[in-house]
Symmetry: C2
Subunit: 245 residues, 2 copies
DNA sequence: GTCTATAATACGATAGAC
DNA sequence: GTCTATCGTATTATAGAC
């Protein structure tokens, strides 16, 4: 059993929870999307994300990340204390960045089919950047690095919050309003998306097949909206009765 | 680059697809669920599964698996050639074992709510064994170990096949029959289940919330079954129209 | 802040005794 | 078939020069 227990460093690293340990000089106010002309700290965060996507959590090490970032390996420990410290920070960094990028788009979605189409579009567009794949890898890694658990949960929550708003808006005009739980469904949607992303890595054709089928399911729920008031009422009561049983 | 390509041992291993390389003596006919009184090969397979669950793919090594199995580390390479060879075999082993265990139960499911309830029950019962968590970890690892991709896809397919049969049976009596695609939905269900399992590792309360919401959704689809023939017909046509658009 | 150098450990894999 | 012993490499993390 590995006895060498350590967290962060031997000590002397107990102040900043996770933010910049010593950004004393400047470097703040710089959250651009450039790649090589930003501070070392951000290079490492970006390097961690790309390494997670391209190599997976199993091959993500201080050295592989530093190589991807083009900086020295020791800087990982200077800036983040440990490898999982870096990964936790990178998780938050990536999630905030992506959600901000899609926030406007998300808030303009008005139908269930629109939400699914957004998922498909984002999925394709971000494939090479691996936005969702990062969350999947970190969730997998959270099993052995307890620190990653809260970090990935927080990262997922950013997405969940947005999806929940979309669902609330979208379901409001269907017979589901009142019986469906947007908060719970948003979690299910986010988790399922992660699972589909992982699945695609092993079986791309199967994943595409799954997305097609989900599209059909969304079409059904959309079609519910066109039911006459009598049928809607009957359906709604039936749902409630089924749930109560 | 590891060039030592082989399977099982140096050679002479082209007959049994995946079974024991040299069970020449006896040891066959023993596929019990005991833990310590089975061949080394099976000890390693079980050790790999528990290690994947408890430590995650990132910390799963020949040494950690051997320790969990209570055997010598070198035996990993003797029996499986490499670590990923062992993991690929363990994936198949675990999936076959679990699906066989639940096959009868799966085949007795007749409603959508029943399928979801089964998922919940299996999820809770197998939590400590981590049946699904293994697939999640291997899918995550497949990113960097190409050999794991086909192996995990095959493992998932065992589940997908069963789920597809259930869905075909269950959806047959709903207005969805004909428009819904059981094969695609089965893939979506399996992938989503994996995602939910990962999510639960990071946020158990959120995952429970998600499952509750899915139960409500299943109730809706079940309620559809109670619609009168006129409404069903209208709904079905509307779904097809929506899909065609 | 960044680098080099290095300590201590863990890893995959092999050779060879039994 | 299993074990010990080992090689070469990769890993986390620290110390100290600059």
């Amino acid at each position: 059993m590995s006895e060498g227990r350590r967290e962060g460093a031997s000590e002397g690293m107990t102040e900043g929870t996770n933010a910049a340990p010593k950004p004393a000089t400047r470097t703040a106010a710089n959250a651009s999307t450039a790649e090589n002309s930003c501070g070392t700290r951000e290079k490492l965060l970006r390097g961690a994300l790309t390494t997670l996507v391209e190599q997976g959590i199993a091959k993500t090490s201080a050295r592989s990340v530093a190589a991807a970032a083009g900086v020295n390996q020791a800087l990982v420990f200077y800036h983040f204390g440990s490898v999982d410290g870096l990964l936790a920070a990178a998780c938050r960094y990536g999630a905030e960045q992506r959600v901000a990028r899609y926030r406007d788009e998300l808030r303009s979605i008005t139908t269930l089919a629109g939400l699914l189409e957004f998922g498909r579009r984002m999925h394709a567009r971000e494939r090479e950047e691996g936005t969702v794949a990062v969350l999947a890898q970190l969730l997998a890694g959270a099993q052995s690095q307890p620190r990653l658990g809260p970090a990935t949960a927080a990262g997922l929550d950013l997405w969940i919050t947005e999806i929940e708003q979309v669902l609330t808006r979208v379901l409001d005009v269907t017979p589901l309003a009142g019986v469906a739980d947007p908060a719970g469904l948003a979690r299910a949607v986010a988790a399922s998306f992660v699972g589909l992303e992982l699945y695609e890595g092993a079986d791309p054709a199967g994943a595409a097949h799954a997305l097609d089928a989900l599209e059909q399911l969304a079409a059904l729920l959309t079609a519910l909206d066109t039911l006459g008031p009598v049928a809607r009422r009957a359906l709604r009561m039936q749902v409630q009765r089924t749930l109560r049983r």
